[in-house]
Amino acid sequence: MESVVFIFSLIDCCALIFLSVYFIITLSDLECDYINARSCCSKLNKWVVPEVIGHAVVTVLMLISLHWFIFLLNLPVATWNIYRYIMVPSGNMGVFDPTEIHNRGQLKSHMKEAMIKLGFHLLCFFMYLYSMILALIND
């Protein structure tokens, strides 16, 4: 059973890693002016909710399966994701707003955030991988 949990987490984590990479690529495209802010933001905003859900699912799964350490590790990031999504002002077009992304260094901070998440997911990936192997061996 535990192995199933970790296999699922691993897959989910892979998806999140890909998502982070996608965010980074798209944002750097914007930085280099390969795409315009409008299309960049509409691309990214589409994936904000899946990211939130994907991460929340893993977190909840860890809670349910009583892996406290991994749960606590995931909790801040999941909370941040949800907070960020909820706190979007009503007039904005999403977490990424084309009219503001070039202002006040938002682009840079989004980029930084995506990088940090990528690192975090990579860490989680190996952790899940290790746990999964351990679980499979134990089984």
Partner: protein, 1233 residues
């Protein structure tokens, strides 16, 4: 859904005719013209017009085939290359000389472009005979000339061509004028206009642009009488009708080309006749000389050729003129040069000079030059105009002395002499003192020529605007002792009189005198720190924001316009060459932004100003920090768009009740002819309540046709082709509609407002072309997409706690704005509402589409006359001001600096590129910068903004401003260079962002902290100061005062009842107003005007303007015995004390005593008394210094409006806010903490 209402729908037949009818068919139909059923005419017209203006270009670009075949053989070869250029920018002076033939060919092309349709249609000739009255037409035509000629305006071409032909005779200009009538007659008749209408329409339309048309016209006449040759041309043209037209066309093109390239043929003559040539002619010939032969090709042929023929063969048309011209003898080169130099100049004047001057003066000049000048200077009109600050002249923003490179600034002697005929010449004359120009329009030209240099120097002093004189003088005085003076410690708590006597001058950067002279005017471009700190660490230490305040598109009185085939730019960072680059040697220049070494193009080596070779550093681009380039096709993604205006009007019960429709329609009717644009200008109307109504104005209908779409959930355009119509073709219908509109909805009971669907429809209508949407809204949108709910709680208006709902409630308007911006459409919002209308949400439609926002709280046309008058005045300015379409602005700065935040109305498309669907002269921008790399290895930093836009004449132009500032390494130098007004304006912008994204309280704290931090940092650097006192450097002595004013401004105040919409509007203004206007909004100027004397007056336009000293904004300055004028930027308050001198009340206000002065008074009577004259001249001087004419409101002590006045006395204590002194103490306390 779409149901005909009110007016019968068009017969199906009409529609059918429309679609299938190719150009040819339409023409034919049109030929019978006047008699033909309207429905037919309508469609045809539209088609014809269209292609000529917009669509027709395509052929030029891509598919030359059709046109070329028609072109005469000679020209053909060159055509391909030239086509583009010739049609667009005739004036490349430096371009390798193309043969005359080429130019002719190109002209032909243009003609073809515009007339393709015509040519095909056999019935052409029919129209020719009718010609509107010459007088009216001619004047109109004249205007045309002055207006810029781009390919887009084919009318112009014609006119131009005429001029060329004339030129050969020696009187180019005049001929132009005369010819025009012919042209218009000839050309348009085909279109099936009744002749009269044609004349009227065209003439008026164009006329509108330049005020003085009438005067010009007269002159022309006079001129013609004088010049023998002129009459010739006139006569010929008139009778011939078509022939002339054609000829003119071809010639016109030629002329244009020549302008740039040199039209030798005509020029020489001119020179001869005028004699002026002598001086300049001696100069070395430019490459242009090749052209010389050109003139003649056309000469031999007989004039009689039909239009068609002429189109095909340009030469014949030309021929008619040549015989008359004797002057050929001169060496072409001389002629060329002359033409080049003087011509340009002359042209400028002609175009710029409103009235008379131009025509006669230039007679001799090279037509081409004229043309060019005309092109460039179209804008000039305004500048030259006698009215000092005439904002009406739109296009140019008025640069009186616009000079294309070709036309060197040096006043050509020839021109002067020419002036014999025309008196007014002095106008545009560059050498004259600025004051002179403005003041005395009609001065006869002086024969004396100032040297080239004199002309040039004049150049350097830009912006002679009168009111700037004082400030610039102030700046000068500062220069001498800047260091000590700006750093002189000022004890704020002790020095009570810190306000300067007159306006606060902008600090002058501490540069050497050469660079200082070259630097950009502070009115266009200002930096918060005129001494740039070397590192970010130093900047952080200073606690002052670093940023730029821009007013890039403002109306200029002088602007060098450069027509050059290559625009010299840095190869790596694309910076435009500017006065601050360094020339390593003759052949290489070093970019001042990225330090790359670039080659100087061959063409750039020739300097048209001195007409010498090998002096690239003397070129106008390198001598002026504000220049405008005429851009080539490289700078367009599509053919320049026509001017398109769409009005979206609220006609619900609320709107009808407020009565704004009457004022709007009246203003539109008055200014219809002055709308900036060319012959392609289009206009449309949409009204909405709970449904959306469209108006079919297709030319040919007997009356406007209303189409109602009630399906607001899925809005569609009932007849996509006929809703936006050509302004000139459908003018009668438009006028009918505007006359009918105010009364059409008087009995409406519809209270809902479907703004969102109406905007969606407007977007659909505009998306193919782009343009401007003007939305008039009077209430909260309540239906369909984008509906809003009231969010304001009236009880919270004066809360000192949280102010909510400063941000938009929905992203609908933002999305719409971004869609519009993508389609080069700007949305301007006029909100006339008495209740809460959620401006915070509605404003988004303008904010992100680069529109502008006007708000008239509690507007009512009869109950609130002040607002009604304000709307009227705003509309006049709004409708007639200059406009740039499909614009982008890029801000570049020296390596090491970077921009991190932009403020203003636009969409940021990439890191340094702002997308501006429209740009208007009243828009200001701000940017915040950071220092990313240390600037230790450089002593100067530069900023450059380049605004690329399409003028309303369909010309692509680039306006470039460059600012150069020194780098300093010590903190005290940073303080010495602080520009307190710029700092405050930038902080205001930042505070608006902060209050929307965070909260109002945060923003207020941030403002106070800005003062506290910077003063504390300053005091810590000056260790010898006593810590117990509040000391500021002289440069920042007004900082606390301005910040206090900001805190008491509507946008940021708390504790005083402020309606949410008022607050949001004030915030919008802060983001989009240029610095000068914003400063008046933040800190109004107060003058005592009951004792104006003749001391310390200045003279403007023969008027004596008293200069009363600025008063502190405090009630302690008000006395009951006095009268005070408060200048708040958009409104003047005239406060009259109870015991005010009766003489003042009698003389100035026109009432016997205080008690009889009415409550609502907005005008000062014209009383023949010195005090009245002084007061009025002072007020009108203040008014002239700004684009919007402010409303004057007389306020008596018992007037309820007096709170409006007293709330601006920001140094006084209110129940909710500190007085200035308390504020200072508070700051001191915080510093000591």
């Amino acid at each position: 859904m779409s149901a005909p209402a009110g007016l019968p729908p068009r017969p199906a037949a009409a529609a059918a005719a429309f679609s299938p009818g190719g150009p040819g068919s339409s023409l034919e139909a049109a030929a019978p013209a006047s008699g033909a059923p309207r429905c037919q005419n309508g469609p045809m017209q539209s088609q014809m017009q269209f292609p000529s203006g917009y669509g027709s270009h395509l052929p030029n670009y891509s598919a030359p085939s059709g046109h070329y075949s028609q072109v005469p053989n000679k020209a053909a070869a060159s055509h391909l290359e030239n086509q583009y250029r010739a049609s667009y920018y005739p004036g490349y002076y430096s371009a390798p000389a193309q043969n005359v033939m080429t130019s002719v060919g190109s002209s032909v092309l243009n003609a073809q472009e515009s007339h393709q349709l015509y040519n095909n249609a056999p019935p052409h000739s029919g129209g020719s005979s009718d010609r509107p009255v010459q007088g009216a037409v001619s004047s109109a035509s004249y205007l045309h000339v002055s207006a810029q000629q781009s390919y887009s305006a084919f009318d112009n071409h014609y006119s131009t061509s005429v001029s060329s032909s004339v030129a050969s005779q020696g009187f180019p200009l005049n001929s132009d004028h005369y010819a025009m009538p012919v042209v218009s007659g000839a050309v348009y008749p085909n279109v099936s206009y009744p002749p009269v209408a044609a004349g009227g329409v065209y003439g008026q339309t164009f006329t509108s642009q330049s005020l003085p048309a009438v005067g010009q016209f007269k002159e022309t006449n006079a001129f013609s009488s004088q010049s023998t040759s002129v009459p010739h041309s006139l006569q010929q043209h008139i009778p011939v009708g078509y022939n002339t037209t054609l000829s003119t066309v071809s010639s016109a093109q030629a002329v244009q080309d020549n302008l740039s390239r040199n039209l030798t043929g005509s020029v020489p003559k001119v020179n001869n006749q005028i004699n002026t040539g002598g001086i300049d002619s001696s100069q070395p010939v430019h490459s242009v000389s090749q052209n010389v032969p050109f003139t003649k090709p056309g000469v031999g042929t007989s004039a009689a050729s039909a239009v068609m023929s002429s189109v095909r063969s340009p030469a014949p048309s030309l021929s008619s003129k040549p015989p008359s011209s004797p002057s050929v003898t001169q060496s072409p080169e001389l002629a060329l040069q002359e033409g080049m130099q003087y011509g340009g100049y002359v042209n400028n004047q002609a175009s710029s000079a409103p009235a008379p001057l131009s025509s006669s003066s230039d007679d001799e000049e090279e037509d081409e030059e004229d043309e060019e000048a005309a092109l460039d200077s179209s804008s000039t009109t305004s500048s030259a105009s006698p009215v000092l600050n005439n904002y009406d002249a739109l296009e140019g923003g008025g640069y009186p002395e616009t000079r294309s490179v070709t036309g060197s600034p040096v006043p050509s002697p020839s021109v002067l002499q020419t002036s014999k005929t025309s008196k007014p010449f002095g106008y545009g004359y560059p050498a004259l003192q600025p004051g002179y120009q403005n003041a005395t329009p009609p001065t006869p030209v002086q024969p004396s020529n100032p040297g080239h240099h004199s002309g040039f120097q004049h150049y350097a002093q830009q912006y002679p605007g009168v009111n700037q004189l004082s400030s610039s003088l102030g700046g000068l005085s500062l220069q001498h002792s800047q260091q000590p003076e700006s750093l002189r410690p000022v004890n704020l708590t002790h020095d009570r009189n810190i306000l300067p006597v007159s306006s606060v001058p902008a600090p002058v950067p501490n540069l050497n005198s050469d660079l200082r002279k070259l630097n950009c005017s502070p009115d266009s471009f200002r930096c918060t720190l005129t001494n740039i700190p070397q590192t970010q660490a130093l900047l952080n230490k200073a606690k002052l924001p670093l940023g730029l305040l821009l007013h890039p598109f403002r109306d200029l009185t002088q602007l060098p316009v450069i027509t050059s085939s290559t625009i010299v730019r840095c190869r790596s960072c694309r910076t435009y060459i500017n006065p601050f680059v360094s020339f390593i040697d003759q052949r290489r220049w070093k970019c001042n932004l990225c330090y790359r070494v670039n080659d100087v193009p061959e063409e750039f080596m020739y300097n048209p100003l001195t007409r010498s070779y090998g002096e690239p550093h003397k070129r106008p681009e390198v001598q002026n920090s504000t220049v405008e380039f005429i851009a080539s096709s490289d700078y367009m993604l599509r053919p320049p768009q026509p001017a398109v205006y769409l009005f979206v009007l609220d006609v619900s019960h609320n709107a009808v009740e407020a009565g704004y429709l009457t004022i709007l329609c009246q203003s539109l009717l008055e200014n219809l002819d002055k709308l900036p644009g060319d012959s392609r200008t289009r206009i449309g109307f949409i009204t909405f309540d709970s449904t959306v109504q469209f108006y079919n104005l297709q030319e040919g209908l007997s009356q406007p046709q209303m189409l109602i779409v009630s399906d607001i959930d899925d809005i569609f355009l009932p007849t996509p082709d006929s809703l936006l119509v050509n302004l000139h073709e459908s003018k009668e219908l438009i006028k009918d509609l505007l006359n009918a509109l105010p009364n059409m909805f008087t009995n409406t009971r519809e209270t809902h407002s479907a703004l969102g669907p109406a905007l969606q429809a407007a977007f659909k209508l505009m998306s193919p072309t782009g343009g401007r949407i003007s939305v008039f809204q009077t209430q909260l949108p309540s239906l369909g997409a984008g509906l809003l709910h009231s969010r304001e709680d009236p009880n919270q208006r004066s809360s000192t706690k949280v102010v909510q709902h400063l941000g938009p409630a929905t992203d609908f308007y933002k999305k719409l704005a971004l869609d519009c911006s993508g389609q080069q459409t700007a949305v301007d919002l006029f909100l006339l509402s008495s209740q809460y209308s959620d401006l915070a949400s509605l404003a988004c439609m303008s904010k992100y589409s680069a529109g502008c926002i006007y708000y008239y709280p509690s507007f009512h046309c009869s109950h609130n006359p002040a607002q009604a008058e304000k709307l009227q005045k705003d509309l006049k300015r709004y409708l007639t001001r200059k406009i740039g379409f499909e614009a982008v602005m890029r801000i570049r700065c020296t390596k090491g600096l970077s921009i991190h935040t932009f403020h203003g109305n636009f969409f940021v498309r990439s890191t340094d590129l702002l997308s501006l669907a429209n740009v208007n002269p009243d828009a200001g921008f701000a940017v915040q910068m950071s220092i990313e790399e240390s600037l230790t290895d450089t002593s100067l930093v530069c900023f450059q903004t380049a605004l690329l836009y399409t003028s309303s004449k369909g010309e692509r132009r680039i306006r470039v401003h460059t600012l150069c500032l020194p780098v300093v390494s010590s903190l005290s130098d940073v303080y010495a260079g602080a520009d307190v007004q710029a700092v405050v304006c930038l902080l205001a912008n930042m505070a608006v962002d902060r209050s929307v994204s965070s909260s109002l309280a945060d923003a207020r704290d941030a403002l106070v902290n800005a003062v506290v931090d910077s003063l504390a940092a300053y005091m810590s650097t000056a260790s010898n100061l006593q810590q117990s006192m509040l000391i500021a450097p002289n440069s920042l002595k007004l900082f606390p005062l301005y910040i206090l004013a900001l805190l008491k401004q509507k946008a940021f105040r708390t504790g005083t009842s402020t309606r949410l919409d008022d607050r949001v509007y004030a915030m919008c203004q802060m983001k989009s107003q240029p610095l000068v206007h914003l400063m008046k909004m933040i800190h109004p100027n107060l003058y005592r005007i009951d004792k104006l004397t003749d001391e310390s007056t200045i003279h403007v336009n023969d008027r004596v303007v008293p200069q009363p000293p600025l008063q502190k904004l405090s009630a302690e300055k008000l006395t009951r015995e006095g009268a005070f004028l408060m200048d708040c930027g958009s409104i003047f308050y005239l406060w009259v004390g109870k015991n005010c001198d009766n003489n003042f009340i009698k003389d100035v206000l026109g009432y016997p005593n205080y008690a009889s002065v009415p409550q609502k008074m907005t005008q000062l009577p014209e009383v023949d008394a010195p005090s009245s004259e002084r007061t009025r001249s002072f007020i009108s001087w203040l008014r002239d210094s700004r684009p919007l004419s402010p409303v004057l409101q007389v306020i008596k002590d018992e007037n309820p409006a007096k709170t409006d006045f007293f709330q601006h006395l920001i140094e006084d204590r209110t129940e909710a806010a500190f007085s200035y002194y308390e504020f200072l103490l508070n700051i001191q306390q915080q510093i000591c903490k």
